[in-house]
Amino acid sequence: MDFDTMIAAVMVLSSGLALTLSLTVMALMAGFVLSVPLAFMRAFARPALSRTVLSYTYVFRGTPMLVQLFLVYYGLGQIEAVRASVFWVILRDPFWCALLTFSLNSAAHTTEILCRGLQSVPKGTTEAATALGLKPMQVARLVTFPIAFRISLPAYGNEVVGMMKGSSLASTVTLLEVTGMARQMVSMTFAPYEIFIVAGAIYLLLTSLAVKATQFLERQLATDGTARRWRQPRFATTVPEHRLTTPMP
């Protein structure tokens, strides 16, 4: 074990941190935005539509993300028509290829997570909201989704961690994020353990932070008395409408 190498590795690998984080965060955001309508379709739409969404999520959840990445990166690049099209501006760049793959993958997982949440919202709650005169869109926005989101949060936390770890695959398409930096450095110093241990530690730190953040959010949105007591005054003053949009009265 060579500590000088490890210290050097901390410095070098940190330079890949920005790329790892931006890939993870952007993929999660794009995936989430995409998954909300898909989850509603999957949970409540006509069987034909629901099955179409299922086939998308099934394929993306049933194959390794590495294969998906290679399909998007090398596979699409092989098709002449794609190279001639406007999409090539995006697909030409490894960063956008990785981001596209990760977003589609994350959307598939998040859709299923949210769908399970949506389906476990008690029927009585939505019926009550409808009885109060809320329109279907309002019920979905103000009642069903917030409750479903809170139910889904622990599972979504796993998806956040999974995507953070999955971003390491970007190193296979020439991107120099943390793992890419590590492999680059290993190939120059021939010191695999020191460097991969440092890389592992960096990811562990990131994923631990993500877990902590999810747990914090879970506490914030919890409906049992303890957490709400100190939540309400904090938000009530700054965000007056919060009580309206907050999940679960």
Partner: protein
């Protein structure tokens, strides 16, 4: 292309072998760790928590690279003489480590979900620790853990793709070698996707049928 079809068939067997062996070993380890974590001193529980946290918090790719490169050196040091760890063993060890990390948490959660009164009742009936586990806790835990445990198997078969990096001729490696040498990435990666989808579908169907046969008790 015919040559590659034969290669894919061999690769499918390697991937299945990798998955089955490391899934089985991972289950055994995960079960042991989960039982230890529930029953033993805080220090043991803390160590096990550290293990599962690390395994679940570090990318599978990094774990595999570490074990492939670090494994031989570590094993040689422990044994005091040169020990060869071939690619298949390295792959199995890496996947077992990953699988057991997640399985421990799944089993532990399932054990914790069984009301404490059950064990106490069994104790008062005069069952010893082994009997309590075999006849009371175990069967209920298995049923409770089944859905999450099934998902672990699906993830496992997908994670085998990462092992191609250490040179095993699994599905992914055959695909990337073929994609490169025949310069037909689309065909080869689509073929690989289809094979993985087949594997995960078979896994899913088997898990579902077991779930139907053994639903969680009292639900």
């Amino acid at each position: 292309m015919n040559g590659f079809a034969i290669q894919f068939a061999g690769a499918l067997l390697i991937t299945i072998g990798l998955g089955l062996v490391s899934g089985f070993l991972g289950t055994v380890f995960g079960l042991m760790l989960a039982i230890l974590k529930n029953a033993r001193t805080p220090r043991v529980a803390g160590l096990i928590t550290a293990y599962t946290t690390i395994v679940r918090g570090v990318p599978e790719l990094v774990i595999i690279l570490l074990i492939y490169f670090g494994g031989t050196a570590l094993a040689s040091k422990i044994a005091g003489r040169y020990v060869e760890i071939n690619a298949f063993t390295a792959g199995i060890v890496a996947l077992t480590v990953v699988f057991s990390g997640y399985a421990t948490e799944v089993f532990r959660g399932a054990i914790a979900a069984i009301p404490a009164g059950q064990a106490e009742a069994a104790k008062s009936l005069g069952l010893n620790a082994w009997q309590r586990w075999m006849f009371v806790i175990g069967p209920q835990m298995c049923r409770l853990a089944l859905p999450a445990y099934g998902n672990l198997w699906i993830s496992l078969f997908k994670d085998t793709a990462l092992v191609s990096i250490v040179g095993l001729s699994d599905i992914m490696r055959v695909a990337s070698v073929g994609a490169g040498s025949m310069r037909a990435p689309l065909t080869f990666y689509l073929a690989a996707s289809a094979l993985y989808l087949l594997l995960t579908t078979v896994t899913l169907v088997s898990i579902r049928s077991v779930e139907r046969r053994y639903p969680a008790l009292g639900r």
